[in-house]
């Protein structure tokens, strides 16, 4: 943060006075003078930190505080301290484990195909392709579509009686499927929605990273006899590894927090994850605890548990990545 220190006026203003005081005071003084010298730098970044404090840090800490109390939505001031009671209760709650399992399966069902398809799409787009701009825009469309609109359309596609998918299934001789009521089928359907929304976004990130790979690497690989597929495996994927890790982290965070798609999937936006909670995610569970049962402390504990899950998972990715990087050195 030395943005401003190049400014001659500021530098002049911050220049030390002619009479230098004796030793002990100088360190503190130097620190203070560095602060003043950099004050414009701090001023420029301040808005971000103010917003961060107000809208991220405060809610974050406040949630932690609430999670240690028994709080009802109707009576925010009547909080009773319960220690880790909310957490122990959560860990003994079969709904929590059900929701955690659903979140995991939906997470895997959506993240893996999503990233794999994105990688393939980016690879195709990376070749000299006609109408590349068109495809790029097209790929961003799902991302730009509102969750609600998208999910409602998909809910109709997956509808039992009039849904397009069942109609097609029937046309090729299969039975209709009651997508919403089955456990696997509902989770697959939700994963399809998530994949549809996020594939293009990830593909664009991959595409940007691919375009940074020097072309002569591919030419060298071509001369070395590598087929396109081998080039993809031996040139593209290794160069993309950091990017892939990044998208995995981002998708994992998204998957743990999955909320909108399952909420709207039933078509009325009122569900808490199906009649037998077959597609209740952690996000839905938290919503249920806080806004249906009005138990804010419990909901806050769930929120913090989700956060910790994310931390652990991302930490594990980080460890794996570091170990790989070290093995490669």
């Amino acid at each position: 943060m030395t943005i401003a220190s190049d400014d001659p006026r500021v530098a002049a203003a911050a220049a030390p006075p002619p009479s230098v005081p004796p030793a002990p005071a100088t360190a503190a003084r130097r620190r203070r003078s560095r602060l003043t010298r950099n004050r414009w730098g701090y001023a420029y970044v301040a808005p971000f930190f103010l917003l961060f404090a107000a809208f991220s840090l405060y809610p974050f800490l406040y949630t932690a505080y609430i999670s240690l109390h028994d709080v009802r939505l109707s009576d925010l001031d009547g909080a009773v301290f319960v220690g880790f009671g909310n957490y122990t209760e959560l860990l003994q709650d079969e709904f929590f484990w059900n929701a955690a399992r659903n979140t995991l399966t939906i997470g895997i069902l959506s993240t893996v195909p999503q990233l794999a398809i994105a990688l393939g799409l980016a690879h195709l787009l990376n070749y000299r392709l006609r109408g590349r701009t068109f495809f790029r825009v097209a790929m961003l469309m799902p991302y730009a579509t509102s969750i609600a609109a998208a999910t409602l359309v998909f809910a109709q596609l997956f509808g039992h009686d009039y849904g397009l998918i069942n109609t097609l299934l029937e046309a090729v001789g299969f039975d209709r499927i009651d997508w919403e009521s089955g456990s696997w089928t509902s989770q697959i359907a939700i994963s399809v929605i998530v994949t549809w929304r996020w594939t293009g976004y990830n593909a664009l990130i991959y595409l940007a990273a691919m375009q940074a790979i020097p072309n002569d690497l591919y030419e060298a690989a071509t001369l070395d006899g590598a087929s396109r597929w081998k080039q993809f495996v031996h040139v593209t994927i290794p160069a993309l590894r950091p990017t892939i890790l990044f998208t995995i982290v981002v998708s994992t965070i998204g998957a743990v927090q999955l909320f909108g798609e399952p909420l709207l999937f039933s078509g009325n936006g009122m569900t808490n994850g199906g009649v037998s909670n077959q597609y209740q995610t952690l996000g839905l569970l938290m919503y249920d605890q806080g806004w249906t049962n009005f138990r804010l402390g419990q909901a806050a504990a769930t929120a913090w548990t989700m956060f910790l899950i994310i931390l652990v998972v991302v930490g594990v990715y980080g460890l794996i990545a570091r170990r790989r990087a070290r093995a490669e050195r």
Partner: protein
């Protein structure tokens, strides 16, 4: 090992109205080291990439040995290429980089290891086999790139300015190493450079290109002694040959009032057009004399072993100098004249080149 033949090979890039390589005809012998040289943008890289199969051939054909490879994909041509930026695979070790082509070809692991070890020994890379390109110096990377080509023992080596990323001293060193290595392996090699010194020192033969057209292809000695046209004359040799056009008079060409003698029969053939002739002489083919073409010395460059005079033709008011290029003259360092002095030049016996002033072609 094999011969390489370019047969009127032409490349026109899409959206370009002029061929980047125009009807290139070249026969490269088995085991020969051929250097493609020319100014930037003359089509050297394009020619090389056409041979590699990285660039389409729009007309004509290319043969490796007896096989027409015009439409063959790169991997079926059995060639290896050293790229200007080396194009080493960044995430693979030196060993993996060198063995990659063999691995793709399904060569057994033990054989890959022996061949890589052999190449590493030749190139003095044995201590670096486990490192990644990032952790190597420029010269080491260059050697890995060479190693990657050697390991495959291909029919033809292609190199596109492989030394341009090295510092001057290393470049001179590596230049001799590559030339020696090529002679030892005896693999047909096509080498691209824009540096005529590199071309002259390394090549068995040198092909000079300009604007996609082959100007001359011959041994370094012949290029130097008998350049086919004024472009080759000016391009080969350092400092460049002096090339001047002037009016024909009896017995020679008039330059700054004096007459530079030109053999009669060559003069007659050159003077078809308006009584002018283009002559060329190298800096080292001139000597200072009491009589001769007067020049004014502008700069004296002392190199220790030689001195170079940068001079302009002496004053003349009869318009007999058609382009007033600077002349360069080599002299003994001790007897070099002072700046501002007027000296007289004489071309040594056999040091004069004569060109047609219109077609720019050599006249013998």
């Amino acid at each position: 090992m094999a011969t390489v033949t370019f047969d009127s090979a032409t490349r026109i890039y899409p959206k370009s109205d002029r061929p980047a390589v125009d009807g290139l005809d070249l026969q490269i012998g088995d085991g020969e080291f051929l250097v493609l040289v020319g100014p930037s943008g003359c089509g050297k890289s394009t020619s090389l990439r056409m041979l590699a199969g990285l660039e389409e051939i729009d007309a004509g054909s290319i043969r490796i040995g007896d096989r027409d490879v015009t439409d063959a994909p790169p991997k079926d041509r059995d060639i290896a290429m050293v790229f200007q930026n080396y194009a080493l695979y960044p995430h693979m070790t030196v060993e993996q980089n060198m063995g990659f082509a063999l691995k793709i070809a399904g060569v057994p692991k033990s054989e890959i290891a022996t061949r890589v070890a052999e190449a590493a020994k030749i190139l003095d890379l044995e201590d670096y086999l486990g490192r990644r390109p990032k952790a190597l110096s420029g010269g080491q990377r260059q050697r890995v790139a060479m190693g990657r080509a050697i390991v495959r023992s291909p029919q033809v080596f292609l190199m596109d300015e492989p030394l341009s990323n090295l510092d001057a001293k290393l470049r001179v060193q590596t230049r001799t190493q590559i030339a020696a290595l090529q002679r030892r392996l005896g693999v047909t090699t096509v080498y691209v450079t824009h540096d005529q010194v590199e071309a002259m020192t390394m090549g068995d033969r040198v092909a000079v290109l300009k604007d996609g057209l082959l100007q001359q292809c011959d041994t370094p000695g012949t290029l130097y002694e008998r350049p086919a046209n004024t472009f080759v004359a000016g391009f080969i040799g350092s400092p460049a040959m002096n090339v001047i056009t002037g009016p024909v008079v009896d017995g020679g060409v008039r330059l700054a009032g004096a007459v530079l003698p030109v053999p009669r029969e060559r003069l007659l053939r050159a003077a078809g057009d308006g009584g002018r002739v283009t002559v060329g002489f190298r800096p080292e083919a001139v000597e200072l004399a009491p009589e001769g073409v007067p020049v004014v010395v502008n700069v004296v460059e002392q190199l220790g072993s030689d001195a170079f005079l940068y001079a302009t033709l002496g004053a003349s008011d009869d318009g007999d100098v058609l382009h007033t290029a600077d002349l360069v003259v080599r002299t003994e360092p001790r007897s070099a004249p002072a700046v501002g002095e007027t000296v007289h030049l004489r071309v040594r016996e056999g040091g004069l080149h004569v060109f047609d002033p219109v077609s720019q072609q050599r006249i013998d």
